[in-house]
């Protein structure tokens, strides 16, 4: 599959698209079942996901938290589900919980829209993060992603290279 493609559809949004070689019902499960989600979403070397709770219904809450024992660091995301169309769409709010990692991703929650579309066995997933303002988006991209996460993902790349 082609690597993820990121773009900036507007001043307040970031969009990431990727295709997966699997039917939508399996991709959907990987997004909504906590036990499956914690296996791919940010489970980096040194980092575990001790908290991965979600209630996939309108008004349901979720809480994701990652922890690095060695560095004694923690951060997470929380939010509320706004819309669920099975096998097609999830919309939820997201608030960054800086934990001990620090950084900021804006004061207002961002809105995450994930759409799923299956075409002959291939599932296209599009994720749009809409920040409350352009300043929030720029802040999120500058802090959240460059600091802790970038380092972690570099470790992941290295680990994948060894596999």
């Amino acid at each position: 599959m082609k690597p993820a493609e990121a773009s900036l559809p507007s001043d307040t949004e970031v969009q990431v698209k990727r295709s997966f070689d699997a039917p939508v019902k399996l991709v959907w499960r990987a997004y909504v079942e906590p036990d499956l989600m914690r296996r791919w979403c940010g489970g980096l070397p040194g980092w575990s996901m001790p908290v991965c709770e979600m209630e996939m219904r309108v008004g349901g809450k979720y809480r994701w938290r990652w922890r690095n024992e060695e560095q004694g660091q923690e951060f997470g995301f929380t939010g509320e589900v706004l819309e669920v169309i099975p096998h097609a769409k999830i919309v939820h709010t997201q608030i960054y919980d800086a934990g001990t990692l620090g950084g900021c991703m804006g004061s207002e929650p961002s809105i995450i829209t994930v759409t799923f579309q299956e075409i002959s066995g291939i599932t296209n997933v599009s994720t749009t993060i809409k920040y409350a303002s352009k300043a929030d988006r720029d802040e999120a991209l500058a802090t959240g992603m460059t600091d802790g996460m970038e380092m972690s993902y570099k470790q992941l790349d290295a680990a994948l290279g060894e596999m």
Binding site: A22, W40, D157
Partner: protein, 81 residues
């Protein structure tokens, strides 16, 4: 500007407003030479935008590679059922 108008099927005011946006974002710089306003790309600024997007892509791709592996496993499990 007059050079640009010939290249696009856009009106002069439309091009002018696009240039203003690019200039305010720091992606181009403009000078005044008599009646002309020659534009120049500011490559460093463009690079920071593409670096930024590449970084976002890298982060997500790391997760997605793991998701690929998980999906392959789920497909296999489904076949065996």
């Amino acid at each position: 500007m007059s050079d640009l108008v010939g290249h696009f099927s856009l009106t002069q005011p439309t091009i002018s407003s696009h240039l203003k946006v690019l200039e305010s974002a720091g992606l181009i710089s403009r000078r005044k030479v008599a009646q002309l306003r020659p534009c120049k790309l500011v490559p460093e600024r463009l690079k920071s935008v593409t670096d930024w997007l590449e970084q976002v892509q890298e982060i997500w791709e790391g997760n997605y590679k793991r998701l690929d592996a998980l999906l392959a496993e789920l497909k296999q499990a489904e076949k065996q059922e």
